[in-house]
Amino acid sequence: MSRIAATFEKLKSEGKKALIPFITAGDPGKGYTLPLMHALVDAGADIIELGVPFSDPMADGPVIQRASERALANKVGLKDVLVMVAEFRKANSTTPVVLMGYANPVERMGYEAFSIAAKDAGVDGVLTVDIPPEEAGGVADVFKAHGLDPIFLLSPTTPESRVEEVVRAAGGFVYYVSLKGVTGAANLDTEEVARKIAMIRRHCALPVGVGFGIRDAQTAEAIARIADAVVVGSRIVNEIETAPESEVVNRVKYLVETLRRGVDAATK
């Protein structure tokens, strides 16, 4: 069983929901990523989503764009990210790591070569934002063949007729983007999200995670009531951006602990 499947299974048996925090690798500096990853786990993260910096993050709002720019200024590329995951695995063999990024860095390395290197480093899932299942055909198969779960997005604009097609290509879990727009957008409508998730579940046996618009314990709790996993990105990256460098790890840990309490409140 994959680490992602095992994690969801364990949570289910405990009657809990997953918390999936996101950070961009190499932000605010190369040396911060490893301590941040361990801090996320200590604070209650079930899965870590690690952003791979890209020069043109088309689907991201300003907060994560700036994180990408900081990481690129620190010369952090896909190969460095894989090294960071391998380092993380030396001390943690249970928390799944999902890489989230854009097609081109992976394409440049080569899908096969990337899959081998990622599996080797201890990566569990890969979300390439700009590769929908239609283009992924071969790519998702390559990931799967190397034991990587291809994570795909579903959005408010995804018609019901398409959900099954996306789910067929997916592995690990599916990620429902709760808002139209880029990462970091506001105004979460939980009732609308609940309706969509009910529709998705009719076609999908995989766990359903929800991201976009989750900013605090309250929103995390509201989403944890309806989804299997709560993904938080921009809010955490914002904390990294605004904290003094010496405080970054502690502030992120404190924030994720708060989010954890919110997620757990949903299942009490």
Binding site: P53, F54, S55, D56, P57, M58, A59, G61, P62, Q65, E69, L72, G77, L78, K79, Y102, A103, N104, P105, V106, E107, R108, M109, V129, D130, I131, P132, E134, E135, F152, L153, L154, S155, P156, T157, T158, P159, R162, V166, V177, K180, G181, V182, A185
Partner: protein
């Protein structure tokens, strides 16, 4: 597969093209594809597009035999397809009219566009005013500074110009920002993409709207010279003017097609915008094609005297034409383009766009190697009024 059958249903030109976007845009692109499919089979749509091109744009644009320039260069006869004479001064308007008509069919009241030099922004603002639509144009902060007259033109036409301060603050970042707007406002908004690039169906529909250039030229060359040219030369940034003239000429395999990229300070210097000449395949802005990228797959900054060619990617059909050896792609550096710019001003009384000057510079290179009864047709994609500040600055002249 015959070239005219490309792209396939998912927008692939061989390994290039496709739809590489986040899930939120998939439905919008599908809707656009379906609507375009209906529109192009609809005689009324076709008739209105043609009417607008004739009465609003001023088409057909003439083909002109540049005799003095040909004599000066001493070889092949140079003919110019005068897209510079279109309303708004470039080929861009052919496409924005087509897309605005599509937007209207789809009931979208708000259009957005990206722009580099401002030509596509002006052409988008123009059609938005013409059809009574709200228009927002994204433009890199750096380009807003460099192209102040075009910014003012867009504002005169009623558009909102949003400066983009992320990334390198140029065209590619404006495109990222337009995509972000579209993702957020996807139900109310039509994205007027300016070149034959982006996710399917854009490369196909922009090509189709721009093919009026080549279709006219084929007719006009026959009338004017009694035959087709030996070669057709066009500048390539994203590649819309080039594909517009190349695509119809693919039916004439004897006509050599040459795309001219921006060589900047010289391809060997690394400071250029010539992905077909010196790039590698990759995925950016929703499609796969040749890109300017580093060994980690990060997009690198481009350099060209011509803002309209300053783009790290190129339309997927050009990538396919290159690999299939159906067109040849070369690079012309800033200096050569500037020399050709001045030549056309002095010998023909035509101020060309710096983009088009790249095509003219290549004609200058090859004309002397050809016989006097051979013909080069250059696509003069735009006029150079917008570039006079740039040229003055390079010449050390304060305007």
């Amino acid at each position: 597969m015959k070239i005219n059958d490309l792209p396939d249903v998912r927008g692939h030109f061989g390994p290039y093209g496709g739809i590489f976007v986040a899930e939120t845009l998939m439905a919008a692109l599908e809707e656009l594809r379906e609507e375009y499919d209906k529109a192009r089979k609809d005689p009324e749509f076709k008739a209105e597009f043609e009417y607008e091109l004739k009465h609003y744009v001023g088409r057909p644009s003439p083909v002109y035999h540049a005799k003095r320039l040909s004599e000066q260069y001493g070889g092949a006869q140079i003919y110019l397809k005068r897209e510079d004479l279109n309303h708004t001064g470039a080929h861009k308007i052919n496409n924005t009219i087509g897309q605005a008509l599509l937007a209207r069919r789809m009931g979208k009241k708000r259009v957005i566009a990206e722009t580099g030099a401002g030509q596509h922004g002006v052409a988008s603002a123009t059609v938005a005013a013409r059809y009574g639509m709200e228009c927002v144009v994204y433009m890199g902060e750096e380009d807003v500074q460099r192209q102040a007259p075009n910014v003012f033109r867009m504002k005169l036409l009623g558009a909102t110009v949003v400066p983009v301060s992320s990334g390198s603050k140029t065209l590619k970042d404006a495109l990222n920002e337009a995509m972000r707007d579209w993702v957020t406002n996807v139900e109310s908004t039509f994205y007027i993409l300016g070149t034959a690039a982006g996710p399917h169906p854009y490369p196909m529909l922009v090509r189709d709207f721009q093919c009026v250039i080549g279709n006219e030229a084929i007719k006009q060359m026959k009338e004017l010279a009694g035959r087709q040219p030996d070669c057709v030369v066009a500048c390539v940034g994203g590649g819309s003017n080039a594909i517009g003239i190349f695509h119809p000429y693919l039916k004439h395999p004897d006509v050599k097609l040459i795309g001219v990229e921006a060589g900047g300070s010289g391809v060997e210097s690394g400071k250029h915008a010539a992905p077909l000449s010196a790039g590698t395949p990759g995925v950016l802005h929703g499609f796969r094609s040749y890109l300017m990228q580093d060994e980690n797959g990060q997009i690198i900054e481009t350099h060209s005297v011509s803002a309209g060619l300053d783009y790290p990617g190129v339309g997927p059909e050009h990538a396919w034409l290159k690999d299939a050896h159906k067109a040849e792609y070369v690079a012309i550096n800033d200096e050569e383009a500037l020399a050709a710019f001045h030549d056309l001003c002095r010998f023909e009384g035509i101020i060309p766009a710096l983009e088009s000057s790249h095509a003219l510079a290549h004609a200058k290179k090859i004309a002397p190697t050809m016989k006097k009864d051979q013909i080069i047709l250059v696509n003069l994609s735009g006029r150079g009024d917008k570039d006079i500040n740039t040229v003055a600055k390079i010449s050390g002249i304060q305007l």
